[in-house]
Symmetry: C2
Subunit: 430 residues, 2 copies
């Protein structure tokens, strides 16, 4: 048995299953605070020490050179390049469609208000090294940054023994990243948030990472914008007796292989307990068979051990649980998915029907894979073009416009006891 | 002399003038942390104690009753009601125009990606009491919340001796706020972030407030979304010899009257030093005359004392300083404002020409007055309809779509060493 089975649980039983483990670890927080403070005060010198300690690299410069880019490009296999370019095209197309010029409204005659859309000048992207070289994250962050028109895009990524993964560099160059720096962990976040002698301060920091990186983003967020606080990755898969159990099993495993703390939840929509149990058992068999074929058991098995299968017998309860959980990834692989998608209120990204595995969105369909985890989908969206722009409101009133609106402004200002606000109108209409 | 005059300063001289005072006060932070922890653990009991201590109120219930709404409505003067209704219409029109249905892109044949726009379920709005009863803030937060379709809108505001300002209640009812609770300060933020026996937890907290409120928002932001961290209010006014000095003076003062820590910066675009000095002196005279007429000197004078007038002799340098400062409010009241607005990269809201005082946007033109301060305009926008919605990405691939894209996905997944991601495609195409 891989997933523990819960048959139509009530709220008191299922709510605890939906909880994410909070890891506000005091010693981790102190360690990260120290790193940040050290980088703030000592700059490059501190960075050099950390790189030597954590990544065994002695860096002359943090900046990747053109020669390194060329060598990386030469070493990425042709087939992988084509795959990356196809993904690039789809991701660009989806994010380009998110562009907006801002709307202009004449709220009254002579009172024109609009929004001017401006890219953020300097953005910093963090791309983790970790258990797998995540070059896809380069695409997911750098494509919208450049599509938005950000003039300065810096990318920080750890360089084990001084070397950055070639596919990461290939993607960075393809996307037009301006500057790649060899830095990982909390020290990379601190360097981008404060700036050092050799690294420019950025206006906003994006990207996933270890708990160190997330803590660091949390700390600097009181003075530097961040995209979101990313926790462990999650998927919720909704299936029924019509779903192919092998598809379901592979979708669950493709989340579980991310890391020990990944969470997968299987929702079984059934007519009754017998049907639910039957679906569950077929998926368990498929899990067993697939685990036999696949590796990364050191991540998959711990991850599955704190995951669950929940059977429910009506759509309202099903979607209540889905929206309560607010999964990062939601796969609706069941008969009536076209109806259910209208009932989705909280999720990062939704995958519909039998032929939309999460991996499509992780890599290449066009949507972004930088998504809200840990129930942040209740309030937040994934990264999009919007994340890289500011919308500045602008207004122009004519004398006529101010004449019509002036009485309203003055009355409200005076009722708030702000007489200079009123006076600014009065002197113009005098 | 009200504003200190700087004639064409170089960077080393003007950068310090643009700095905002940071107030990361350790004792304040500890006090706010204690309040938050107390509310989290003891709920309503803690809230009652704070209300008694800070607002001299002994509350039976925190919730404003229908009777209180009726009484408030009866006591707001008819003329103020009309003014509020006109502002309501303009603000609604501007924010309604920001609605979007999300775009749908078929990135390849059989690969359809779109965004589903969903309002945030439960939002909490904070409306400060403080030196002036800010009912306009109710309009600025509740109108976009309701226009976005948020089903549950809670508003917290301090009740001095148990009573909420009638105009605040009138606006709340007009906007369709679901629930007004009598609570101010850090304890109000804590109550909305965690929920208590009688107050529901919200998904996102909006609104300005004292330093206590801002610290509280900063602390809870590691688990509850917030709109922004608001510092003291600011205006930058750009003028030249064509500007009416009285208009300029009143705009400066309408910022300065907000509070002792408000910052006003006057930029004088001139042809030479003599012209700059001349413009400066006329504005100083106008300031003197207007201060003589207006009250709230206890806020205005300290605020002006840490403000500045900066003369520059070319547009490039002018706009460099403007964008470096990233003012919450930017008034371009000079001859060539139509050219300059295209050079604005960082500002909260921009006011163009001689007839667009900041007070128009503060109250009634339609734009939002909840704006990024303290140079957050480098990375962030003011509150808009977007602040109250989530954009959930959705995708549906047909079997044909997955066949075309499958090779790309598998190649990338395998290069990232994530074989289950690849397997999820392979089993579907087998």
């Amino acid at each position: 048995m891989y997933l523990k089975f819960y048959d139509n649980p009530d709220e008191s039983e299922y709510l605890p299953l939906l909880e994410r483990s909070l890891c506000d670890d005091g010693s981790l927080r102190r360690c990260v605070s120290d790193i940040i403070e050290n980088v703030r005060v000592r700059g490059d010198e501190a960075l050099r020490e950390y790189e030597e300690r954590f990544d065994s690299s002695r860096l002359g410069s943090f900046h990747v050179t053109e020669k390194e880019f060329d060598e990386a490009e030469a070493s990425v296999p042709r087939e992988l390049k084509s795959a990356i370019e196809r993904a690039y095209g789809n991701i660009l197309a989806f994010h380009e469609a998110q562009k907006s010029n801002g709307e202009c409204v004449e709220t009254m005659k002579g009172v024109k208000c609009w929004r001017k859309v401006v890219p953020i000048s300097k953005v910093g992207l963090y791309v983790p090294g970790g258990t797998a070289p995540l070059f896809s994250t380069v695409l997911m962050l750098a494509i919208p940054a450049k599509a938005a028109g950000c003039p300065s895009v810096t990318l920080a990524t750890p360089a084990k023994e001084g070397t950055v993964n070639p596919a990461v560099l290939y993607c960075a160059r393809l996307c037009g990243v301006d500057n790649v720096i060899k830095l990982g962990g909390a020290q990379a976040i601190a360097a981008m948030a404060y700036g050092t002698q050799s690294i420019s301060k950025v206006d906003k920091i994006f990207g996933p990472g270890s708990r160190y990186v997330t803590f660091a983003k949390s700390i600097v967020s009181s003075f530097c914008a961040i995209d979101m606080l990313a926790g462990p990755s999650e998927v919720m898969v909704v299936c029924d007796k019509s779903s192919d159990p092998v598809y379901v099993a592979c979708d669950l495993l493709s989340q579980a292989e991310h890391g020990c703390d990944s969470q997968v939840i299987l929702m079984i929509r059934a007519g009754d307990g017998k049907e639910a149990r039957d679906v569950y058992e077929r998926i368990e068999q498929a899990l067993s068979a697939q685990i036999g074929i696949l590796g990364r058991h050191e991540y998959m098995l711990p991850s599955l051990s704190h995951s669950a299968a929940i059977a429910v017998y009506d759509d309202v309860k099903l979607m209540k649980i889905v929206n309560e959980y607010a999964p990062e990834h939601l796969i609706l692989n069941c008969r009536n998915y076209h109806d259910l998608v209208h009932m989705v209120e909280s999720a990062g990204s939704v995958f519909l029907g039998p032929y939309s595995p999460e991996s499509a969105g992780d890599y290449a369909s066009g949507t972004n894979h930088t998504l809200p985890t840990s129930a942040w989908a209740h309030s937040s969206s994934g990264v999009s073009l919007d994340s890289f722009v500011k919308k500045i409101t602008v207004q122009e009133l004519t004398k006529e416009g101010l004449s019509s609106l002036g009485g309203t402004i003055m009355r409200m200002a005076e009722a708030e006891d702000l007489m200079a606000h009123s006076q600014a109108v009065k002197v113009r209409l005098g």
